[in-house]
């Protein structure tokens, strides 16, 4: 639905501005959106398929530090920005909340199923969860004395199967991409104490070209939030 609105808006804009090519593209987009909704309805009835993804990075840190950061699941949203929060529950359980597509929040409970200190942790959602998923992180010795190799494996059964994935992809959140970016941010956080970003930096007038580039480069969906929490007002500095 929002796609159709977007297509409609672009169409209207291009007609006003006299850009027939763009209008035609927008019309195609609207047709596409309808078709996609149809296929979504169809797919929703089909059995959901798993989305497995794996990523691995060399990180310059000790296995102890990496394990410690991951083992406290409440840290995960720092480098997994699609996670709203993870809170500790009873024993080895935790409560996970994600900001899902279209502003819908999804949450589930998970439990640690394997935990070897400084080597690996794996967890799985509890039976009855809406988002059935499991994950595992493993830390092995790296190519140099001062590095490790971290491997993250995730498997999701997204709600609505293929549809879920389509929406996730549209939002820049397909599993392969997400898992790799999550682990990349984990590495950055361990190596530098922060995750590089340009979100909120100054710039000149963007116009349509500038905004479109931001979207195509996933800077609107994938760019980490600034991590300096103090809300400092920009001040006119003394020249």
């Amino acid at each position: 639905m929002p796609l159709m609105l977007l297509a409609g808006a672009v169409g209207a804009y291009s007609i006003i501005r006299g850009k027939p090519k763009l209008a035609a593209t927008a019309a195609l987009g609207a047709v596409g959106a309808v078709a996609m909704r149809r296929s979504a309805e169809k797919a929703a009835t089909a059995q959901s398929k798993p989305n497995a993804a794996v990523a691995s990075f060399v990180i310059r840190c000790s296995r102890e530090r990496a394990y410690k950061l991951w083992r406290d699941f409440e840290n995960l949203p720092r480098f997994m920005p699609h996670l709203q929060s993870v809170t500790r529950g009873r024993e080895h359980q935790s409560h996970w909340t994600v900001a899902g597509p279209l502003g819908v929040h999804l949450s589930w409970n998970a439990a640690i199923v394997d935990d070897v200190q400084n080597e690996r942790i794996s967890w799985r959602s509890l039976p009855g969860s809406l988002v059935v998923n499991e994950g595992a992180i493993e830390f092995r010795p790296g190519p140099t004395e001062d590095s490790i190799v971290a491997t993250l494996r995730m498997q999701y059964f997204l709600p609505g199967g293929a549809v879920g994935k389509t929406f996730a992809t549209l939002l820049g959140r397909n599993p392969e991409f997400t898992v790799r970016e999550d682990l990349r941010r984990f590495k950055a956080f361990l190596e530098t104490g922060e995750i590089a970003t340009t979100a909120g930096q100054t710039h000149g007038p963007r116009g349509i070209h500038g905004h479109l580039q931001n979207i195509l480069l996933r800077e609107t969906s994938n760019m980490p939030k600034p991590q300096k929490t103090a809300n400092v007002q920009p001040i006119r500095r003394i020249a």
Binding site: A188, T192, Q201, T202, G204, Q227, V232, I238, A239
Partner: protein, 397 residues
């Protein structure tokens, strides 16, 4: 504040934009006192490098005074009031490549690494004022700039040296020096350098510092060839002579021991291969015109070294790989590993061994930036290097 914004191909505009603010703990804000236009900015000006966005602030050669630091900046290394030159590559200081002093290959400073990985397999470091695949960081052709990982890159400079003398430590002096180092110069070697722009000029002087016996510089802009001769080079004007023939003659058919491409993706030239590249580039079938690179490979002596400081962006064809392989050549290149060179080169400036300000042809207020880009591109008015003053005409507060 005022900032030079890229608004489209050949369309630079000076806009009033919000001042930068600290976003991450290790950021600093620098009040820019001198900022330059680089030859690589011209590739952006010409719209030839993908992933620039309308409204981007350009500029990666700048210096100034630290006016604010984030809570994560190591105050032993950088604090408010420090006068610093900022390197154009952004490095975190904590990853494997930074640890090996391969600063321009930092793993963590490019927030759009995923994108460039698709094109190149891996991501180099983030850069100031460049394309979004290099991070899309707002650049330093502005009155203020945000500097990430501020306790790693910026180098403090003494008050005794003028901005003019040290600002080129931000890029072109270290880049020319690394390009010469990449030539693997042995005492008395002959080095041929294509391109007598600012990088070429510093490369000529650096090659002599590293022991070259002879430098042959190639260009067609008279004042740049003159500047090369002042640096001690012999010169060839490619409008007048066949460069390959002349080099063969000058070296007794041996060929230069090292050949440097200080031109990059917008090489000028003559003949059929130049037209072929030009048309393909116009049709967006290729990003780069590689005429100079072809000549470097062709001219280089057997077992010699080809060094490329010139910027290339894409996937190029008609690279003479046959010559490259059969002549056992070595190719060395890369964005400059800035922090390896800034300190030793600052020492050379302090000792008076070199005054980098010789390269400056124009000093202009920031408002004149659009005009400056144009004359620099057209090489009008003997334009070799432009330094912009972001505060010219601003009322002192």
């Amino acid at each position: 504040m005022k900032a030079v914004c890229w608004m489209g191909k050949e369309n630079m505009q000076v806009h009033e934009v919000p001042e930068p603010r600290i976003l991450n703990p290790r950021d600093a804000i620098v009040r820019v006192t001198a900022t330059c236009i680089c030859g690589s900015d011209l590739h952006l000006y010409d719209g030839l490098v993908p992933t620039l966005a309308q409204g981007d602030i350009l500029g990666h050669e700048f210096m100034g005074e630290v006016v604010e630091t984030g809570p994560g900046v190591d105050s032993g290394k950088l604090k408010t009031g420090d006068r610093v030159v900022v390197p154009f590559t952004i490095a975190c200081g904590g990853c494997g490549p930074c640890h090996e002093e391969l600063w321009s290959l930092c793993d963590n400073s490019n927030p759009n690494a995923w994108f460039v990985e698709k094109m190149m397999g891996h991501s180099p470091s983030g850069l100031f004022g460049y394309t979004h695949m290099m991070g899309g960081y707002a650049g330093g052709q502005a009155q203020y700039v945000r500097v990430p990982f501020a306790d790693v890159g910026p180098i403090k400079v003494p008050q005794s040296l003028r901005d003019d003398q040290v600002v080129f430590l931000s890029d072109i002096f270290p880049t020319g020096y690394m390009a010469a180092e990449n030539c693997n110069i042995q005492q008395g070697d002959t080095v041929a350098i294509w391109g007598c722009g600012p990088i070429g000029q510093f490369a000529i002087r650096s090659a002599f510092m590293l022991g070259a016996g002879r430098v042959i510089a190639i260009d067609h802009v008279p004042e740049r060839l003159q500047m090369a001769r002042e640096g001690g080079a012999e010169t060839l004007n490619f409008d007048d002579v066949n460069v390959l023939g002349a080099l063969r003659e000058m070296t007794g058919s041996k060929g230069p021991d090292a050949c440097m491409d200080a031109v990059g993706m917008e090489a000028s030239g003559h003949g059929i291969q130049y037209l072929y590249d030009r048309v393909k580039q116009m049709l967006r079938l290729t990003q780069d015109r590689i005429g100079v690179l072809r000549e470097c490979i062709q001219a280089c002596r057997k077992g010699g070294t080809v060094s490329i400081p010139g910027v290339y962006a894409g996937f190029d064809d008609k690279v003479p790989m046959g010559a490259f392989m059969n002549k056992s050549l070595t190719l060395r290149t890369g964005q400059t590993h800035m922090m390896r060179y800034m300190k030793p080169l600052l020492e050379r400036i302090e000792k008076g061994e070199i005054d980098p300000s010789f390269v400056i042809s124009h000093r202009l207020p920031i408002e004149k930036a659009p005009e400056a880009y144009r004359i620099f591109r057209e090489k009008e008015d003997h334009c070799t290097k432009v330094v912009l003053d972001p505060w010219a005409g601003a009322a002192a507060a």
